[in-house]
Structures are given as C-alpha cells and as structure tokens.
C-alpha cells in the first residue's frame, strides 16, 4: 500500500514539473514582467534604469535559469508579485483561497447529500416513479451547462425571489467573527454551492444506480440470500456496501470537477474566490497572478486524481498493490 502511494507520488513529480515548465513558458509569452507594475506606479522611470533593473532581477538570463529560480521561489512559498496591483501574490490569495475552499467543501457536501440517497433509491427501486424522477433529474442536470443553470438560479432565487444575496461572500456591515458574520457567510454560500452541487451529482447517481442494479444480479448476492440473510441486510451489507465503496474514489475527480466549475460559479455569483481572481487577473493582464493560479489549480487537479487512485486501492482489495 505504502509502496503504491509512494510510486504514485513519484509519478506526480514529472507531471508537476512538466506543468510548471509549460506555465512558465506561457508566462514568458505573456506581455509584461515583474517591472510592469513598477512602471505603472512610477511612469517616469527611464528606459536605462529599467534595463538595469531587469539585469539585476535576472530577467535577461536564459529562460531555464529564470525557470529554476522561479520554481525555487515557488517551492519556498514565494509566489512573486502581482504586476498590476504590485502586492505580494500570497497576500492576494489568502482570503480568496479560504473562500474557494469553503465553497468547494460545501458543494461537495451538498453533492453527496443529494447524490447518494438518490442513487440508492433509484438503484433499489428501478423503474418506480421515484426512479423515473431521479433519472429525469439526472438527465437534465447532465444536459444543462453549469453557467446557464447557475445564472437561472441566481435570477430566480437571488433577483426575483430575493431569498439569497446576489454577490459577495459576506455582508460588509456585519462585524467579522461574530455569530451573524458566520451566518451571513453561510447565507452567501448556499445558493452558489447548491447550484454547483445540483449539477455535480450526475456521475455519482448514475454510477450508484447502475452498480446497484448490476450488483443485485450478482451471484454473491444469491449466496447471501441462500445463507438466510434478511433482505435488508443483503442490501446494506452486500449490495450498497459494494456499490458505495468505489464512490469514495470519485472524491478526487469530483474535486477536480468542482474546481473547474468554480470559475463560472464565482464569476456568476460575484463570489470573491480564486476563480473570480483568475478571471479578473486575466482581464487585467495580470499574468504573474494568472501563472500562480494555473499552477495551483493544476497542482490541485493532480492531487485530486492521486487521491482518487489511492482511495480506490484502499477500498478495493482486488487492485493489486505491486
């Protein structure tokens, strides 16, 4: 088991390296560099001084030297400076990271709260009216693009019914850290996370439903019944258990999916998170921030897939470790 995880982690390293090189080269292709921000702040800088500064900062070195420096800084937690805002990128990320994390977590929780019971019901009673409803919901949620759905949700529950706020992550008037503050945060989170969650359930429901239906016909279920195991226990101990365990392994992929969706969700609900930061940074051509964000999301995606693989190998003894 440990060996498997270590190997899997080792495979991650070249993936991350390649990702960082691609991003770095992309960044080189992007207009602007570390001095762009200074230039904006101080338009009187003459070209010679600029060139000197460039030389001093190593911006004229060959790209691989710059890359090594960059990656070294990254590893030490130095993300660099936002060209546009001229602040440390880590400061820019802090709060938003927490916001995105919270949104993602809540989305995941809602998604599983919806998907698992529905998947089980649909698989347990296929072709019942409940199943037909669930399959219908699944179909629609698969078909609708996330941004259209989120927008309609916002329009309906935010603007028309006024149940939820239409933007931000917390009420500005509320004092930080108070009970009301937390409530307000939650209030801001619910609509975006439910919108995202409702469209993130497809895979889980579909998998659970068909897996349960298949498992019911498996021979070992007959064995269980032949042992005299009561119907209820046949379901919980054999069918649901065997079908649910692999679902745990979806976690990593779900994280990747939700991360990707966060760009839309945060943009639509005007929610100050990493996704929104990405969109605004790229609109402002703030490429140093864009860089870090792509790197961060790439890292999280790779981590997510890794997580899924590891969970699966824990859950299913048949997956050989070596």
């Amino acid at each position: 088991m440990l060996k498997f995880i270590v190997r899997r982690l080792l495979i991650m390293i070249p993936q991350l390296l390649l990702l960082s090189i691609i991003i770095f080269l992309l960044a080189k292709a992007m207009p602007g560099d570390a001095l762009t921000g200074q230039m904006v702040a101080n338009p009187n800088l003459d070209p010679e001084t600029m060139e000197e500064l460039r030389e001093k900062l190593g911006l004229n070195d060959p790209w691989h030297e710059q890359y090594i420096r960059w990656i070294g800084n990254l590893l030490q937690g130095d993300f660099g400076i936002s060209y546009v805002h001229n602040v440390k990128i880590s400061d820019l990320l802090g709060n938003r990271m927490a916001n995105t994390f919270l949104l993602g977590l809540l989305t995941l929780i809602f998604a599983y709260l919806i998907a698992i019971p529905l998947g089980i019901i649909a698989g347990r009673y296929p072709d019942s009216w409940m199943d037909k409803l669930i399959v219908g919901y699944n179909f629609v949620s698969y078909a609708i693009p996330l941004f259209v759905f989120a927008l309609l949700m916002l329009f309906l529950f935010g603007y028309t019914l006024n149940w939820f706020p239409t933007g931000g992550s917390v009420d500005v008037q509320v004092e930080r850290g108070t009970w009301d503050w937390y409530l307000s945060k939650l209030h801001h989170l619910i609509l975006p996370s439910i919108s995202a969650a409702l469209l993130s359930t497809v895979g889980t429901i579909q998998y659970l439903r068909s897996e349960i239906i298949d498992t019911k016909l498996k021979d070992f279920v007959k064995t269980a019944k032949a042992k005299g195991t009561p119907e209820r226990k046949v379901y919980t101990r054999h069918i649901f258990r065997n079908s649910l365990l692999p679902v745990a392994a979806f976690l990593g992929y779900d994280i990747v999916f939700i991360l990707g969706g966060s760009i839309f969700i945060e943009q639509i609900f005007n929610y100050p998170g990493l996704g929104q930061l990405f969109v605004s940074s790229i609109s402002q051509r703030d490429f140093s921030v864009v860089n870090i964000l792509v790197m961060l999301f790439g890292f999280l995606s790779i981590l997510g897939t890794l997580l899924s693989d590891i969970i699966l190998s824990i859950v299913d003894p048949r997956i050989r470790i070596d």
Partner: protein, 337 residues
C-alpha cells in the same frame, strides 16, 4: 434411504419475457430423501437451474411465477414469507454455486463471509464463531485456515474458492444441499477433489443433495437417483444403476450416445435440431418429438405422463418403446433451415 426430506409437487416456474410468462419448469414432481443424492441432468435451457433457484427462493420476484408446492419439513416453501424462508435458508438448506469466483463477495474477507451464515441463525460469541469457522475451513480441506480466514476471494485459487463456497453452505449443517453445477467451472483434477470432498461430507453429515449437472460422468460418480430433464419436464427418473444400464427415454439415450466414451466408434450420435428457446418450447404432446422426426406420430402419447415402467423407473411418453437410432444418420444436413 431415509424418510422424504423434500417433496416437490407439480412445480411450475415461469419467467416473464415481455408481457407473457413462459414456464421454464413445467409440472415437475420430485422427492429427495434424507441422505440421498439426487442428480438432475440436462442440457442448458432444460430448466434444471430454474428448479434449483425455485427451491431456494432465489428467483426474481417480479419476473417469476411459481405454482405447485415444495414441501420441506412439512412446510410449503412457496407459501412462506421471505422472513420465514430466511429461517430455513442457510440453516436447513444450503446452496453451492457454479462459479466460485462470482459466488463470493469480492470485497469481504473469507472469514466474514462464512460467519455471516452462522450470524443469521445462531447466537454465538465472536470467539466461538471464529473457532467454528476455522474448523469448517479445515473440514473442507483448506490447508491454512488461519490465513485463509483473513484473505479475500481473489487471493485464492478456483478450487480453494469452491471449498469456501462449500464451507458457507454447510456452516449450519443443513439437511439439504443444492449444488448447481458445482464443478463445471473447475479443472478436471480440481473437479475430482471437490466431488470427493462432497461425497466425504455427505457420508459424514448424511445430507440430502440435489446435484444439478450436465455431466453424465459426475452423475455416475455421485448420484443415488437421477432425473433427466428436457424442455422443462422430467422425462426419465430412476436410480443411478438402472438409468445407466437401461436408459429408456429417447432423450436419455441420445444424450448417452452423444458423449464420447472409450467404447464408441468413429461417429457420435447427434440429436437433430436445437434445444428450443424458452419462448418456443413445445407445450403440447411429447416435447422431444420434433427432435426425433423419424419416429411416427402415433408412437407418441397425446398428453405424455411419467409412468412407472419398472420398479422405481419412470419414463415420460410411450415413444421410448418405438425408439431406435437411425441407421445412417446424415447428421450434417439436419438443420438446413
């Protein structure tokens, strides 16, 4: 032979295809006595597996219709609720399945799977249960019970898995075992080991066994009494010696002649036509008649019944009296359709 253990009376098992029900087991009556091995032989599609599933109550509830009665310990299994049936299944009746790989839960340890049977029927402490499980594993010939107890099915070989399946079936020392093609998925040498094990256990425990198989060799090795099934019906039933020495029904005889054996000549007998699918089963007259078209219509009964032709030897339809194999069978051209 002991007292009757299981009595099947006019059992009819029908499966739903589309909106209609089609009988896969049709008017089958059969008695299994204590300490007796009854083999049910036939080719795929003859209804033998459906019969086994009906006895154990493992059929699909919505798509299956059961008629007739199955008497076991003075109770009609068909009229029991699932709960009542669960008190019998695993305790008084055990089942051995064809494919030991799929018959075991891949995500559960062997020990847990065996103990599940005991948990369902006894009130034992953990230690007690483990002790009994280890004994069982030992009894079915597993070399290292302590280790196997903690293993998962995929870590065992096919033969070992089938031993585990047997251990599960006999965990509560049932009076009746139903073995559905227990060795079909196994290699010959493993098959021999499993058959020997089953016979040994049967001698020890005096269980009644219903052995479902398509292999006449297995029947000859194991059975006390044999029922031959064709197209949902029992066409012949007799004790094993009588049946092998003096098979009467045309289907039984054809079956014997189509298996290669040391004595036979160059050609094997080929039964004409194909086993009809469930939907196309002939429902009237002698169901085997269309596969022996050279036998005259008059030879068949209109409504064939099982008849006792000699003591304890029952045959369906009178056509057996007129049956003979065709002299020069042109078996190549039997199914130009």
């Amino acid at each position: 032979m002991g007292k009757p253990l299981l009595q099947i009376n006019n059992l009819k098992t029908s499966f739903r295809i589309g909106d209609e029900f089609y009988a896969a087991v049709d008017d089958v009556s059969l008695t299994v006595n204590e300490n007796e091995v009854v083999a049910i032989v036939g080719e795929s599609g003859c209804g033998k597996s459906a019969l086994a599933l009906s006895i154990m109550g493992l059929h699909h509830e919505l798509n299956t219709k059961l008629e007739g009665e199955i008497l076991f310990q003075n109770k009609n299994l068909l009229s029991l609720s699932t709960n009542e049936l669960n008190n019998i299944r695993g305790k008084d009746m055990g089942m051995i399945f064809q494919d030991p790989l799929t018959a075991l839960n891949p995500l559960m340890r062997i020990g847990d799977q065996i103990e599940e049977t005991m948990k369902n029927h006894y009130n034992l402490s953990k230690e007690e249960m483990k002790k009994r499980t280890l004994e069982l594993l030992n009894k079915v010939g597993i070399p290292n019970p302590e280790r196997t107890y903690m293993q998962y099915p995929h870590e065992l070989s096919g033969g070992m898995r089938q031993r585990v399946v047997i251990a599960i079936a006999i965990a509560c020392e049932p009076k009746l075992l139903i073995a559905d093609e227990p060795t079909t998925a196994l290699d010959v040498t493993i098959q021999a080991q499993i058959l020997d094990l089953m016979r040994e256990l049967q001698n020890q425990m005096k269980t009644g066994i219903i052995l479902i198989t398509h292999d006449l060799g297995v029947v000859a090795e194991m059975a006390d009494r044999v029922a031959v099934m064709y197209a949902g019906e029992i066409v012949e039933i007799a004790d094993v010696f009588t049946l092998f020495n003096n098979p009467l029904h045309p289907y039984t005889r054809s079956l014997f002649n189509s298996v290669p054996s040391a004595a036979d000549g160059d050609r094997l007998h080929v039964i004409q036509g194909i086993v009809p699918s469930l939907k196309k089963l002939p429902r009237t007259g002698c169901r085997f008649s269309e596969r022996i078209p050279w036998i005259k219509k008059e030879a068949h009964e209109e409504n064939p019944k099982l008849r006792e032709v000699e003591k304890n030897h029952w045959v369906r339809c009178t056509c057996y009296q007129h049956f003979d194999f065709p002299k020069d069978a042109e078996d190549l051209h039997y199914d130009i359709s």
